[in-house]
């Protein structure tokens, strides 16, 4: 069975490479490679799609084809990356509301402007304490209230700690939104952004793209990028070295801006790291370092109520 699958994959790979060499690849995978919008080089190339159509594509958008089938994608997406235990550390003393994380995230996950997988909030804990910026992704709780209430197992906890969504299965009951105390989840109330553009593209569970009308979405720690050995989009996009990301099993986290790697437990211990609303017992995987010694003034405006 295993050998079979391997040989099939090898075959697919060979086909992909060979065809890729002559510039032939499925139009769907070409489109899905547009996730990161790259600069058009101007050179066009003619391609034959799997359905036999001749199309013209910009050379810069070409990428080797390695899209697994939907069921294969869902299967490995549900399992996660064996041996890993992902954690994120957000250093609040560094965040100055650049919002590059939000932009990168919305591009990666094809979100509308009002949809946030990561949202930089302007916080003030008490009347006389200093306000600060707080990026808020999904906490990827180890005791997740959202996956507990899902009636169809469309949102689930993987073995590497990531809470993922299968929007091919989600029925849109929105119980998980009600259950999440961190308001981390968004819903596709309308046709998603670029719905026309990504029509027919194979669903990638680890990026939750293309988004689907009537289903849930939320931060996934860019599980597709992790599989490729990259840091999550938001972490890489930050210009202010706010984010650290890594594997708790290795006890190491890497800064997305400086690429410096440090010991996770020491970072948390030395800087009095904490988790959000730990009293709720959700056991978040996202840690915060307090907003101390801020080198710049808070320029935001506290809006919305606070609890």
């Amino acid at each position: 069975m295993k050998g079979n699958k391997n040989s099939r994959r090898d075959f697919m790979k060979k086909v992909g490479v060979t065809l890729g060499a002559v510039g032939v690849s499925a139009s769907s995978s070409v489109l899905s490679s547009c996730n990161q919008v790259e600069q058009a080089s101007g050179d066009k190339i003619k391609l034959l799609t799997s359905s036999g159509e001749l199309v013209e594509v910009d050379k810069a958008q070409l990428k080797p084809a390695d899209m697994p089938s939907l069921s294969e994608n869902q299967k490995r997406g549900r399992k996660g990356l064996t041996g890993k235990s992902w954690v994120m550390v957000i250093d609040l003393s560094k965040c100055r509301n650049a919002r590059e994380c939000m932009k990168a995230c919305q591009n990666h996950h094809q979100l509308r402007p009002e949809q946030h997988h990561i949202n930089v909030l302007q916080m003030q804990d008490a009347e006389h304490t200093a306000p600060y910026y707080m990026p808020k992704p999904c906490m990827h709780c180890d005791n997740p209230p959202c996956t507990k209430v899902c009636p169809v197992n469309a949102t689930f906890k993987r073995e590497d700690g990531i809470v993922l969504i299968d929007n091919e299965r989600c029925i849109g009951c929105r119980f998980c939104i009600a259950a999440c105390p961190y308001s981390a989840r968004v819903f596709n109330w309308f046709e998603p952004r670029d719905a026309e553009k990504y029509k027919g593209v194979t669903y990638n569970i680890e990026a939750n793209v293309p988004q689907k009308k009537g289903t849930i979405s939320k931060c996934l720690f860019s599980a597709d990028r992790l599989r490729d050995g990259k840091l999550p989009s938001c972490v890489s996009a930050c210009p202010n070295s706010v984010y650290w990301f890594g594997d708790r099993n290795e006890d190491a986290v890497t800064n997305g801006t400086t690429n410096e790697t440090v010991c996770f437990s020491e970072l948390i211990k030395d800087n009095a790291g904490y988790t959000l609303m730990e009293e709720l017992g959700t056991k978040p995987r996202v840690y915060y370092l307090p907003a101390k010694d801020r080198a710049f003034p808070f320029e935001g405006e506290i809006s919305g109520h606070k609890a």
Partner: protein
């Protein structure tokens, strides 16, 4: 009740009862036609609204990422609540041998069936992907309260239909055999099928009584679960306003308030429209009034617990929620519901005058409307105040207001429930004839079997 002695008198009384109670089935007038026309129109408009919603997405509603449950869920909770009266009247009162309940039990079952059916429909209309409804069965996770809810709603609907249907069989058999009442032929043919060849002998009655008793016992845990589980949809989350331990009994008590008032209104409608003054007597209204005041008192007790205790402590998130209810944007709705919809009815119904049919019906209408707004207050304000601030989204994400599509679909749900009740009332007697005869000491077997022996 004095037993009527001579068989002749007995037959006379039975004939009168049968005649009076089959009038609604026979009657065909302009008003009925207009009523059904109205119902069908509203149902069509509502379904059209749903088609628009499916086409454009749930964004046509006022719901957004923070207030992600709105009026549909309030409707769902309301319908589940109203349906619970079927269990209280046709099971609990029967088992307690409270005989006046028999006259209203079919009314209560009509309401139960219509309400629980529409609870099921409205929840599907709230889904983002109704086309994936069957995923609940293919991929159902039993750890999710939604699966519990689906299970108990379906079970409750089944038992309610059976509790409506089984006591109907002797009536159907009797009407099937009577040709002089003017019942349309197709209805009698329907009765013939539905009466399952009922002969009315002792063995059959014994089986019927046994089956009814089993169902009445079965519906107690199911009835209690249906609304308790519905409350757990909220109580199982961490949100302030929902995260309380008394939500189960609080919902059940509130359900009886809504359901009892619905039964009183429907009794009054039947009494007026079908001229059933001698069947839904002042006595029945008086008793229903007492029942209503009793369940209202229980509900008041739970309300005091629900608001006074957290209000005393004012924990951060809870405090924001409570201030919003007590003196914020929802305060007028909140106080109207609590005072006009609960306290005032209790004070009034305690007096005998207000338990007379008309005053009691008016009060019940107020209570029922307040019960709907109460569900609205349970669902929406909590969601408007999550733990973390609502930022970087359009202004309307923060506050929920239902859109015209939501109102249309809500109207559809209510009209569809009324349509089910109307159809049941036009098809079957609204009071069990044989039970009424039995109460009056008439031996229905003898009377119906006699002619065949001769």
């Amino acid at each position: 009740m004095n037993a009527i002695k001579s068989p002749k008198d007995q037959k006379k009384v039975l004939d009168k009862i049968t005649f009076d109670l089959t009038r609604p089935i026979v009657k065909r007038d302009e008003l009925t036609r207009f009523w059904f026309f109205l119902l069908i129109m509203f149902v069509i408009v509502g379904l059209w609204g749903w088609i628009i919603q499916i086409d454009r997405g749930l964004g046509v509603t006022g719901m957004r990422d923070y207030v992600s449950w709105g009026m549909y869920i309030a409707n769902f909770v309301f319908f589940v609540a109203v349906s619970l009266i079927g269990f209280l009247i046709s099971s609990a009162l029967h088992l307690l041998k409270i005989s006046w309940g028999k006259a209203v039990s079919r009314v209560a079952e009509q309401i139960a069936i219509a309400a629980v059916a529409l609870a099921g429909v409205i929840i599907v209309m709230d889904m983002g992907r109704p086309d994936r409804f069957l995923n609940i069965f293919f991929h159902g996770r039993f750890a999710s309260p939604i699966i519990w809810d689906v299970s108990v709603v379906v079970t409750y609907l089944t038992i309610s239909v059976l509790l409506f249907y089984l006591p109907l069989i002797p009536d159907l058999a009797m009407l099937r055999d009577k040709e002089d009442l003017g019942i349309p032929k197709w209805k009698r043919r329907l009765y013939k099928t539905l009466s399952l060849g009922w002969k009315g002998n002792a063995a059959q009655f014994k089986t019927l009584y046994h089956a009814m008793r089993v169902l009445m016992l079965l519906i107690i845990p199911v009835g209690l679960s249906i609304h308790t589980v519905t409350s757990w949809l909220f109580a199982s989350t961490l949100r302030s306003g929902w995260d309380t331990t008394i939500l189960g009994p609080y919902f059940v008590a509130g359900a009886f308030v809504a359901g009892a008032s619905a039964v009183i209104i429907l009794m009054y409608v039947y009494r007026l429209r079908y001229g059933l003054k001698e069947y839904f007597k002042d006595y029945h209204f008086d008793q229903m009034g007492k029942l209503l005041v009793f369940v209202c008192l229980v509900y008041l007790y739970f309300n005091i617990n629900e608001f006074l205790v957290p209000g005393y402590k004012m924990k951060t998130a809870e405090g924001i929620h409570l201030i919003e209810l007590f003196k914020g944007g929802y305060s007028s709705m909140f106080w109207l519901v609590q005072v006009v919809g609960l306290v005032l009815p209790i004070v009034l119904i305690v007096f005998k005058f207000f338990r007379k049919p008309l005053p009691l019906t008016i009060i019940s209408a107020v209570v029922l409307v307040a019960a709907w707004f109460k569900r609205y207050l349970i669902v929406i304000p909590t969601l408007e105040h999550p733990f973390l601030p609502v930022q970087n989204v359009p202004e309307h994400f923060q506050h929920y207001a239902p859109t015209s599509i939501e109102i249309t679909i809500t109207l559809f749900a209510f009209v569809a429930a009324l349509a089910i009740i109307s159809i049941l009332a036009k098809l079957f007697p609204v009071i069990a004839i044989w039970e009424l005869a039995e109460e009056k000491g008439i031996d229905i077997n003898q009377l119906t079997e006699e002619p065949k022996i001769n």
